[in-house]
Symmetry: C2
Subunit: 429 residues, 2 copies
């Protein structure tokens, strides 16, 4: 390749992320050229619908994506479509042709990352996906490289901006879940069908990716334990605050018994923990490594510009490799690992109960839990309805086994004095 020739890029998909990546290449052209050592030029953009108006020259667009990927003059493919079909087969075709790929596709990497990395390795080409997790926050590469010498002992992420925005709104303004969700939808932070975000699928994809890198084995995303935030109520927000906690949708992965726990669920986290202050659209990853100790990364976890930042960072790296005639040696991850069932988890819990407000009720609750080796720690109580003698009890447990906690909670629920088990959440100490 002549030393002045441009690095030629095909962009697949021109939604929020594709448009942002194109704009960043235009806006910061000079600095990017200097860093790559050659100009970087977009030679084609693949979209489904050619009739929509676009912020790039019309001549660049095509709706024949397979043909775009097969073009002889494409040096790098940016896959910014999302989802599995047709993204997966397009990425495969590029890699098989020896063309490096940068993708922002978390579902693709979470589900097929191992196979695709191995394909990239066989063809000696780069496959980068920094934008798949945490928007613009550098996470994938630092975990792969700068932290590679560490045994990661725990990794906790706030990996979904939509749920974090909803929970922040509930905590700060006292909104209920439905109201906060509706508002997020109106502001464009949540989709019309919010399942992917609100029920924790998005965070689970991202956790599986981070876990696969950190632990070197494919983390099967369908085994990641997953609860969404629909159960979080304003009342729980209030009691968590009183007890000194924030409620966040945390994605947590940690080694145990030669394998891993991986889970996504609403969690109480102490206000003193740095993750408790990560609000709104911000994402963060906190981790503890055996040598590095505690570490945290935070920043904008989604949106056109931050995601473009990660895509273009990857592209600059790949383009430099193309210029140097080498590839970035993907770090492969090994065979899928069987995750531990949530029943084996040891943690502590928050419980809120509606009870008949009688003298002996707290003792009965403590006794039932005690039968299952579950000890109570902090407790709050309030009267709901004095006439009907209804009260609300909130307590935290000591660290115990999930299966014991569930059994204890079932026994408690069966007590005459218990009107309703309103909610229970895990607590991160």
């Amino acid at each position: 390749m002549p030393s002045s020739a441009a690095i030629r890029v095909a962009i697949l998909g021109f939604g929020t992320v594709g448009e942002g990546a194109y704009r960043m290449l235009e806006d910061n052209r000079e600095a990017i050229t200097r860093k790559v050592g050659r100009p970087v030029e977009v030679v084609g953009i693949g979209v489904r619908d050619l009739t929509r108006s676009r912020t790039a020259p019309r001549s660049l667009f095509t709706n024949d994506l397979p043909k775009l990927v097969r073009r002889e003059d494409v040096d790098v493919v940016l896959e910014l479509i999302g989802g599995l079909d047709p993204a997966a087969s397009l990425v495969e075709q590029a890699l098989e042709r020896g063309v490096p790929v940068v993708t922002a596709n978390k579902e693709l990497i979470a589900k097929q990352g191992r196979e695709l990395l191995s394909l990239a390795g066989r063809h000696h080409v780069d496959l980068h996906f920094e934008a798949a997790v945490g928007g613009g926050i550098p996470l994938v590469q630092p975990l792969k490289h700068q932290l590679a010498g560490n045994d990661v002992l725990k990794l906790i992420g706030i990996l979904n901006g939509t749920t974090n925005t909803i929970l922040t709104r509930m905590a700060v303004d006292g909104a209920g879940f439905d109201e906060a969700l509706r508002e997020a939808q109106e502001l464009g932070y949540a989709e019309a069908d919010p399942t992917n975000d609100v029920d924790g699928y998005d965070a689970a994809y991202k956790l599986a990716i981070l876990g696969s890198i950190a632990f070197g084995r494919q983390v099967p995303v369908d085994q990641v334990y997953r609860e969404g935030i629909r159960r979080v109520s304003q009342v729980d927000m209030h009691f968590a605050d009183v007890l000194g906690y924030a409620i966040k949708l945390l994605a947590i992965i940690e080694p145990a018994h030669e394998t891993l726990f991986a889970r996504v669920h609403p969690t109480l986290i102490p206000r003193t923990h740095p993750l408790a202050g990560v609000d709104g659209v911000y994402n963060a990853v906190w981790l503890h490594g055996d040598f590095v100790g505690d570490l945290m990364f935070s920043g904008r976890g989604a949106g056109s510009d931050p995601t473009a930042s990660a895509v273009i960072g990857d592209l600059i790296g790949v383009a430099r490799d193309v210029v140097a005639g080498q590839s970035g040696q993907p770090i492969l991850w090994g065979e899928p690992i069987d995750l531990l069932p949530i029943a084996d988890l040891e943690t502590s819990y928050y419980v809120r109960l509606n009870v008949q407000d009688r003298p002996k009720v707290l003792g009965q609750i403590a006794l039932e839990f005690g039968h299952h080796d579950v000890g109570l720690s902090a407790m709050e109580m309030r009267v709901i309805d004095r006439k009907r003698e209804l009260g609300e009890i909130v307590f935290l447990t000591h660290r115990c086994r999930e299966s014991d906690f569930r059994a204890g909670l079932a026994s408690v629920a069966a007590l005459d004095a218990i009107v309703e088990v309103c909610s229970d959440f895990r607590v991160e100490a």
Copy 2:
């Protein structure tokens, strides 16, 4: 090289960092071998004093460091001596022989980074220095790579753990500077001669390195404006807190007028800023990029284990390059750039004055500053000595030019009613 052959490492220096790096290679041998694809083996350790007892086999040690660097069987050199002499010439010798180098030496990279990177480039070998800034926090590589597409619009670091520990002790426990310094010395966080940390030299080296990467031009460390924390008093800590600020030794770099401001000084920063909560031995870097938006990295900024984490992360990357028979293409930085003088800075200020407690004094102060285009904002006042009519006035200014502020402050100091200008600090909004 046969595919089972070990990557052979020479360690120069076996102080805190060298010992930590050796221990990490031993402790995490299996995982590191898996990530590199070959075992990594220390074949020699260069030290000045052979008689000291060591935590590695005696047979590895030599006090002939140049000879160790010249050994034919060394694949990678870890330079963990620190300082310029003999580190600089040893690193040069290794690079000239085509041997890649990993260093934790901030003074070396801040002062000679440009020449050494260029030497490494000419010999097609890696030169990595993640450990030179922020201990175990990945900063150098993310700035170089994942954030490379951004124009960095501002970067602020808490880059020195010793001063941050002292300031945290003063803020939390109400200790005075001397007491907090003495304690840090007793605990081993500060050296007997604390100048390098306390007067901001260490932070200035690190800022120059981060700035050179972020802006692609050598930031001349001797032009970095530098004030230490000796002037910070308990009284200032108190008033800052009342006004809603923490006082931190911040290292700040930002583009302006086609060049840069780079400065290290004690700074008031709002309690709501994420940097305000970075306490004790933790370091952090906050930055704003045009696409990525706000981003923060935090973690342990010094100490044996976190620094080893960064050194070994670099070593794994270099070893993978050695295995693949390629080099990591150092990103060079350009000609030194002339920094802007502090007199041209625009920011706001905190001032504490002892005054004769007379009715007109505040008006006089505001008038003098007004003559120099400096407006006052928040103000606090207290009586020090009612009999002698002594008072203390603390105020913040609006954003103004440093040269105007200095001229205004000089006029104020000359007023009859002003007993003493006790302190002034810059404020980060």
